[in-house]
C-alpha cells in the first residue's frame, strides 16, 4: 500500500479522527467571518440558505471526501490518481492551497499569540486600531512596487517562527501521537474556553440588542441571489473541504470507520461553533454599541478588524480583572482554533510530497516547516497585510473554488462514467449507522459543482473589471500577488502531476 510511505500510523480512535476533522474545520473564519456574513446577508433569514448550503454542499462533500480518503488511502494526489491518472493534477492543486494558506495563516496565529500576551495587561491601550496597524504591524502604505515590502518586523517574524516550531513539533510526532493526541486536548479545550466567552458575553448590558440585530430575519433578502452565494461561500470555506485535508485525514482512519456519521457530526459541529460565534460576537457588539451610545451598525466589523480592533475595545470596557481574564481566554481559544487548522493543512503537503518522492515523513516535516516558515516571513513586513489579503482572496476565489468545482463535477462524472458511483460513494454505507443513497449524493454533488462554477465566473467578471477590482489595489499588486499566484498554482499542479512518482507502491497500483 502506498500508505506506508505516507505515514506508518493513523487515528486510533473514532473521536480522535472526529476531533481532528472538527479542529481543522473550526478556524478563525468561524469566529470572525460567519457572524458578520450572516448579519450583512439578511440576519436571521441568512440561516435558511446557510442550512440549505450545509445540507447540500458542506455535508455531502465531507461524505465524498471521507469515502475517497478511506477507500483509496494515500495523499490527495495519489487518491485522485487512483480514480484516474489524469486527475492527479487535482490533488496537487489542493496541495498548492495547503502550501499557500499556511504562509499567511501562521502569521495571523503569531498576531494572536501577541494579543494573548497583551491581554494580561490590556497592553493595546485605549486606541486599539492605532495600536494594531501602527505600533504592532507598523503597516506601511501600499508598496510602490509589488515586492518592495520593507524590512522585517522582528517581533512578528519571531512570533511566526514560534508558530512554525510548534506546528513542526506536532507533525513530527506523527498522526497518532501528534495530530490525534493534540487535537483531543486542544479542540475540547477551545470549545470549553470559547463557550465561557460566549456565555459571559450574553450577560452583558446591550447583549439582547446585539442578538436582536443578528437574528431579526429580513425575509425580503431571500430573493437576492447574493445571500445564497454568501451562504454557499461560507459553508464551503469554513468546512475545510476541497483542500485535500479531509481526504488525507480520512486515509488515516480504520477501514471499518463510520464515515457517513463522522461527516455529519463534523459538518454540524463546525456549524454549531459558527452559531455560537454569532451569539458571542453580537452580544459583545451590542455591549460595545451601548457603552459608546452608538448603533450596532457602527461597531460591526469582520475579519482581523473584529479580533484585533473591536474585541480589544470590548475587553477594555469590561470590569477590571474580568476584562483581562476574558481577553486571555478569548485569544487562547483562537490560537488553538488556528493551530488545529494549520497542522491539518501542512499535513496535506507533507503527505503529498513524502509519498510522491518517497521521502521519509520526518525529513519532509522538517523540510516543509523550514520552507513554509521561511515563506511566512513575507507577511512579517510592513506591507505584509496587503500580501495576506490578496493571497487570501485569490486563493479562495480561484484555486479553492476551482478545486471544489473539479472535485464535485469532474471527479463525480468520472465515477459515473466508470460505473463506480455505488462502489465509491456507497463505500461508507458498509460500516456507517447513517446510510446515504449514492445516486442522490451524485445529483447533489453535481448541482453543487454547478453552483461553484457560477461563483468562479462571477469572481472573474468582477476582478477583470477595473471598476470593481478586489480591494482597489494597484494593478502590479493584483497581478503579482493575485493572478500570478493563481497561475503558479496551475503550473505547480501540472508539473507535479506529470513528474514520475518515486514511490514504488504508487506505481504498482497504477
Amino acid at each position: 500500500m502506498s500508505k506506508k510511505n505516507n505515514s506508518s500510523d493513523g487515528f486510533k480512535s473514532r473521536w480522535g479522527f472526529i476531533l481532528a476533522a472538527m479542529g481543522s474545520a473550526i478556524g478563525l473564519g468561524n469566529i470572525w467571518r460567519y457572524p458578520v456574513v450572516a448579519y450583512e446577508n439578511g440576519g436571521g433569514a441568512f440561516l435558511i440558505p446557510y442550512i440549505v448550503a450545509l445540507l447540500t454542499a458542506g455535508i455531502p462533500i465531507l461524505i465524498l471526501e471521507f469515502n475517497l480518503g478511506n477507500k483509496f488511502r494515500g495523499s490527495a494526489p495519489s487518491i485522485f490518481r487512483k480514480i484516474n491518472p489524469k486527475l492527479e493534477f487535482l490533488g496537487w492543486l489542493q496541495t498548492f492551497i495547503a502550501v499557500v494558506v499556511p504562509v499567511f495563516y501562521s502569521a495571523i496565529i503569531g498576531w494572536l499569540i501577541y494579543y494573548f500576551y497583551k491581554a494580561f495587561s490590556l497592553g493595546w491601550g485605549s486606541d486599539a486600531s492605532s495600536f494594531f496597524y501602527g505600533d504592532f504591524l507598523k503597516l506601511s502604505d501600499v508598496p510602490e512596487t509589488a515586492f518592495a515590502l520593507g524590512g522585517f518586523n522582528v517581533k512578528i517574524a519571531g512570533l511566526v517562527l514560534l508558530v512554525w516550531v510548534v506546528t513542526g513539533t506536532i507533525l513530527f510526532m506523527g498522526v497518532e501521537k501528534g495530530i490525534e493526541r493534540v487535537n483531543k486536548i486542544m479542540v475540547p479545550t477551545l470549545l470549553f474556553m470559547y463557550a465561557i466567552v460566549v456565555v459571559y458575553s450574553l450577560t452583558l448590558n446591550g447583549a439582547v440588542d446585539g442578538l436582536q440585530k443578528f437574528f431579526e430575519p429580513q425575509w425580503s433578502m431571500l430573493k437576492e441571489p447574493s445571500i445564497w452565494t454568501a451562504a454557499y461561500g461560507q459553508v464551503f470555506f469554513s468546512t475545510s473541504i476541497a483542500a485535500g485535508i479531509m481526504l488525507t485525514y480520512a486515509s488515516y482512519t480504520p477501514k471499518d470507520s463510520d464515515l457517513n456519521s463522522n461527516a455529519v457530526i463534523t459538518g454540524l459541529g463546525n456549524a454549531s461553533v459558527e452559531l455560537a460565534a454569532g451569539f458571542g460576537v453580537f452580544a459583545a457588539l451590542g455591549f460595545l454599541a451601548m457603552q459608546n451610545g452608538v448603533g450596532i451598525d457602527e461597531v460591526v466589523k469582520g475579519g482581523p478588524g473584529l479580533v484585533f480592533e473591536i474585541y480589544p475595545a470590548i475587553i477594555n470596557q469590561l470590569p477590571p480583572v474580568i476584562g483581562p481574564i476574558v481577553g486571555v481566554i478569548f485569544y487562547l481559544s483562537l490560537i488553538f482554533a488556528g493551530i488545529s487548522s494549520l497542522i491539518s493543512l501542512v499535513e496535506v503537503v507533507i503527505s503529498a510530497f513524502s509519498e510522491k518522492f518517497n521521502v521519509n515523513r520526518n525529513v519532509m516535516v522538517i523540510t516543509m516547516t523550514v520552507v513554509l516558515g521561511g515563506a511566512s516571513l513575507l507577511i512579517a513586513t510592513p506591507a505584509g497585510l496587503y500580501v495576506l489579503d490578496l493571497l487570501d482572496y485569490f486563493i479562495n476565489t480561484y484555486i479553492w473554488q476551482t478545486s471544489g468545482a473539479i472535485q464535485t463535477l469532474v471527479v463525480v462524472l468520472v465515477l459515473v462514467a466508470t460505473k463506480k458511483v455505488v462502489d465509491v460513494l456507497g463505500h461508507g454505507n458498509k460500516s456507517s449507522v447513517i446510510k446515504v443513497n449514492p445516486n442522490v449524493l451524485t445529483v447533489i454533488l453535481l448541482a453543487t459543482g454547478c453552483v461553484l462554477v457560477f461563483f468562479i465566473a462571477k469572481g472573474v467578471i468582477s476582478d477583470t473589471n477595473p471598476e470593481t477590482v478586489y480591494g482597489g489595489y494597484p494593478d502590479y499588486m493584483i497581478n503579482n500577488w493575485g493572478w500570478k499566484v493563481v497561475g503558479l498554482g496551475f503550473v505547480f499542479s501540472i508539473i507535479l502531476a506529470v513528474l514520475p512518482s518515486k514511490t514504488k507502491a504508487v506505481e504498482e497500483e497504477n
Binding site: G44, L47, I51, L211, F215, V264, L268, S272, V433
Partner: protein, 32 residues
Amino acid sequence: MSASAILMMIFCVVLIWGGFIGAILYSSKDQK
C-alpha cells in the same frame, strides 16, 4: 427581542445544535 428574532434563534438552535447532538447520540449506538 422581537418575536420573529426569538423564533429564528430557537429554530437555529434546535436545528444546528440539536442536529449535532442528535447525530452524536444516533451514531453512537452500535459503535464498535
